[in-house]
């Protein structure tokens, strides 16, 4: 019976596919730019926001409110996961990998951290930004709990420090937004505070600081997600 059901579903899906294909082929081939906002953004993004990377200009200045919603989604996912997986039992350390792996990662971690900070801080100059750099920083804590065992990770960044890091990142982001109101502009306006010429490190108004805020928020958030997930695996072993 289930074979027939599968065939039935395949037929329906292929019919849906054909109609979709026919619909989409009616779309105009070339993306015409009659009144697209793309013109305005590419022509005077550098003047208005000072950031060379237009994608970061859009993400953290023209549509910074989207990124605020975005980082709240991650905050919601983190609190949802901790709500579901939080157990009052004592976390048991996972036994890390072999000695060789531990030694090589001992040398690698500072470079990963440096790379993460580079991606965050150079968001407005080169590809990258708060989101990507934050995930790289988060991956350090993931590597710790895999290679050295979650107890080592617990000692390095205990969950409370991770929560504090995440909340301080979020507060930095919202604070910059509110600072915009205090300084007379609108919420999340690009404060041209330390503007030392286009192209230098601290140049695009409040974009680098929003990047740093989001970077720490996402890094700490992902570390919490991974820690509460991996911590469950080894609780069972101690009981058997």
């Amino acid at each position: 019976m289930s074979k027939a059901k599968n065939i039935f579903k395949i037929i329906i899906l292929s019919l849906l596919g054909i109609t979709l294909l026919v619909h989409f082929n009616k779309l105009p081939l070339q993306f015409e730019y009659a009144n697209s906002i793309y013109h305005h953004i590419t022509n005077n993004a550098v003047k208005e926001t000072g950031s060379l990377n237009f994608v970061t200009a859009i993400l953290y200045d023209y549509r910074a409110y989207d990124s605020l919603g975005e980082s709240t989604i991650i905050f919601g996912a983190v609190s949802g996961i901790v709500l579901l997986l939080s157990r009052k039992t004592l976390p048991v350390s996972s036994h890390g990998l072999s000695f060789i792996v531990k030694r090589t990662f001992g040398m690698l971690t500072p470079f990963i951290f440096l790379f993460g900070i580079y991606i965050i801080s150079h968001g407005h100059l080169s590809p990258g930004g708060g989101f990507q750099g934050g995930v790289i920083l988060g991956s350090i804590s993931i590597i710790f709990s895999i290679v050295y065992g979650s107890e080592f990770d617990y000692k390095r960044y205990s969950p409370t420090t991770k929560t504090l890091l995440e909340t301080s990142g979020a507060l930095l982001f919202i604070g910059l937004g509110l600072l915009g109101i205090v300084m007379g502009g609108n919420f999340l306006v690009n404060l041209k505070i330390l503007n030392s010429g286009v192209g230098s490190l601290i140049s695009a108004g409040s974009i680098p600081f929003i990047n740093i805020g989001i970077g720490f928020k996402i890094g700490a958030g992902l570390a919490i997600i991974f820690y509460s997930m991996i911590q469950k695996t080894f609780k069972e072993e101690v009981n058997l």
Binding site: Y33, D66, S79, L164, G177, G180
Partner: protein, 505 residues
């Protein structure tokens, strides 16, 4: 350029972020923070109404806020007109009372519960106020991912199953909405509501139909209309009653707002008429209404019956809206208000009742009326309102729906509404009768584990009774509510009023 719009979203967001921060230091401070920010958020809503009360009266109420200081088509704008104000006040009132109810019902030890509740509050205000289509998609996703953990809050098997199904359906709905956003940006190059609706006509009818099709499918999956209603009853019944009140009462109405905003102001209802889609939607919505009532009839669990009656009433609202006459839109919005008040009061009352019974089954509700007569009488009154008996608001909204159907010649739809009311009568009476049955020896009170603390029982009963009284008062003086609803209908019918305000300032 009013600051209050952005405060409506930032205050719950900041409290949600501060709660774990404050929780690390002291538990007491968290309770104060939760109470304080609920009151602040509610007072901002009231402040908006009071400051431009005169504008509301003569229908020229419109607030905009340019985020980041960018002019509309470039940046994101927040806009509040009569329609958004109507839904925003509904959200503020019901959220204020649901937070108070959950302080009594859930208690204070669950810090993460309140984080997610405030995130839902911020997401709902974000959806109701936004004037940008991708921002709408981001906040729809935020609403989904913050309400799913609350569906799985009880951490038992039933809750986890319901949450998985809820997440799968919600994410696929979100993907369809995102495809709509992609098509809109590809063809029009802009993301701002007013800018889209201004030159949506310039597209060929074929592409307009595809865009309308994707948004329709996405919204219907999220709303739980007929072909996709499988997840709604499980999700709305597997969570604690304060959350099912939130889900069935308020979150579903936010999706109705998205449906109205997208298909009246942004895409324009004439595109649906030209594509012949409005009759299809009417048929699907009526089928969904019948299925909701029939499934509620066969259901034995009280919360699943209420969830199915949400499916039914939602189908009714969408059906009445698609007729698109002034009276029909008025009846639809009135039913949104009446269904919200009645469903939230039913779920709050059931939450209190179900702590006396071993399970949610109908047989176990026997003799529960004698535990607290006031609450069960309130439950019966509101159940009467859901059927459509006169003094309650349910009668007024059903009356106007029938009038809207009849004046436009949709006699079959009017008959379906009547059949639905009869079904509703049958399945509500089943619960009310078993509730009043005399129990020789009442079930031992060992099930009363939740509300042992006295103050919490008082809070829970007061809020359930408040909603019952609200249903009665609005039922009697429903003429008063017609003012703001007519203003909202006014906004719905001519969207160039919306475009002029955003783009020409």
């Amino acid at each position: 350029m009013s600051i209050t719009l952005i405060l409506l979203i930032i205050v719950p967001l900041a409290t949600a972020i501060l709660i774990p921060f404050v929780d690390v230091f002291s538990n007491k401070a968290r309770k104060v923070l939760v109470g304080f920010s609920t009151v602040v958020e509610f007072s901002i809503g009231i402040f908006i109404i009071l400051t431009n009360f005169d504008k509301i009266i003569d229908n020229s109420f419109f607030l905009t806020y340019y985020l980041g200081g960018w002019i509309p088509p470039i940046g994101i704008t927040l806009s509040m007109d009569m329609l958004s104000l109507f839904f925003s006040t509904l959200i503020s009132i019901s959220l204020l009372l649901i937070v108070a109810y959950s302080i009594g019902f859930i208690g204070h030890h669950e810090g993460k519960y309140y984080v997610l509740l405030f995130l839902i509050w911020a997401a709902m205000h974000g959806i109701v106020l936004t004037g940008d289509i991708f921002n709408l998609d981001v906040f729809l996703e935020l609403l989904l991912i913050t309400s799913a953990p609350l569906v799985a809050f009880k951490r038992n098997r039933n809750g986890t199953e319901a949450a998985i199904k809820y997440m799968f359906y919600g994410t696929i709905g979100g993907l369809f909405v995102f495809i709509g956003v992609v098509l809109v940006y590809f063809n029009l190059g802009t993301l701002n509501f007013a800018h889209i609706s201004q030159n949506f006509g310039s597209l060929s009818l074929y592409i307009q139909k595809t865009i309308a099709f994707f948004f329709l499918i996405g919204i219907f999956i999220k709303m739980g209309i007929f072909p996709f209603h499988f997840w709604l009853s499980k999700a709305h019944s597997a969570c604690p009653s304060s959350i099912s009140a939130l889900l069935s009462g308020v979150i579903v109405k936010v999706y109705v707002y998205v449906f109205i905003r997208l298909f009246w102001n942004v895409i324009g209802f004439d595109v649906l008429v030209a594509a012949g889609l409005d009759h299809i939607i009417l048929v699907i919505a009526l089928i969904s209404s019948i299925i909701g009532h029939v499934m509620a009839l066969y259901e034995n669990d009280i919360k699943r019956t209420l969830a199915y009656s949400t499916v039914a009433n939602l189908g009714l609202i969408i059906a009445v809206l698609t007729i698109n006459t002034k009276l029909a839109l008025l009846a639809g919005l009135l039913h949104v208000l009446s269904h919200l008040l009645m469903k939230v009061s039913l779920f709050t009352a059931t939450g209190y009742i179900l702590q006396f019974t071993p399970s949610h089954k109908r047989e176990d509700i026997k003799g529960v009326a004698y535990k607290n007569m006031l609450i069960f009488v309130g439950f019966t009154i509101v159940a009467g309102g859901m059927i459509g008996l006169p003094p309650m608001i349910g009668f007024a909204s059903k009356w106007y729906i029938l009038k809207a159907f009849m004046t436009d010649g949709y006699h079959l739809a009017a008959i379906i509404v009547l059949i639905g009311s009869i079904f509703a009568f049958v399945y509500y009476i089943k619960y009310i009768i078993t509730g009043f049955k005399k129990m020789s020896l009442g079930p031992p009170d060992k099930f009363r584990l939740i509300l042992t603390v006295f103050y919490r029982e008082q809070v829970v009963t007061d809020i359930a009774l408040f909603f019952v009284i609200a249903v009665l008062i609005t039922g009697i003086f429903f003429k008063v509510i017609f003012g703001p609803i007519e203003g909202a209908v006014e906004v719905m019918q001519n969207s160039n009023f919306y475009i002029d305000y955003i783009l020409n300032i």
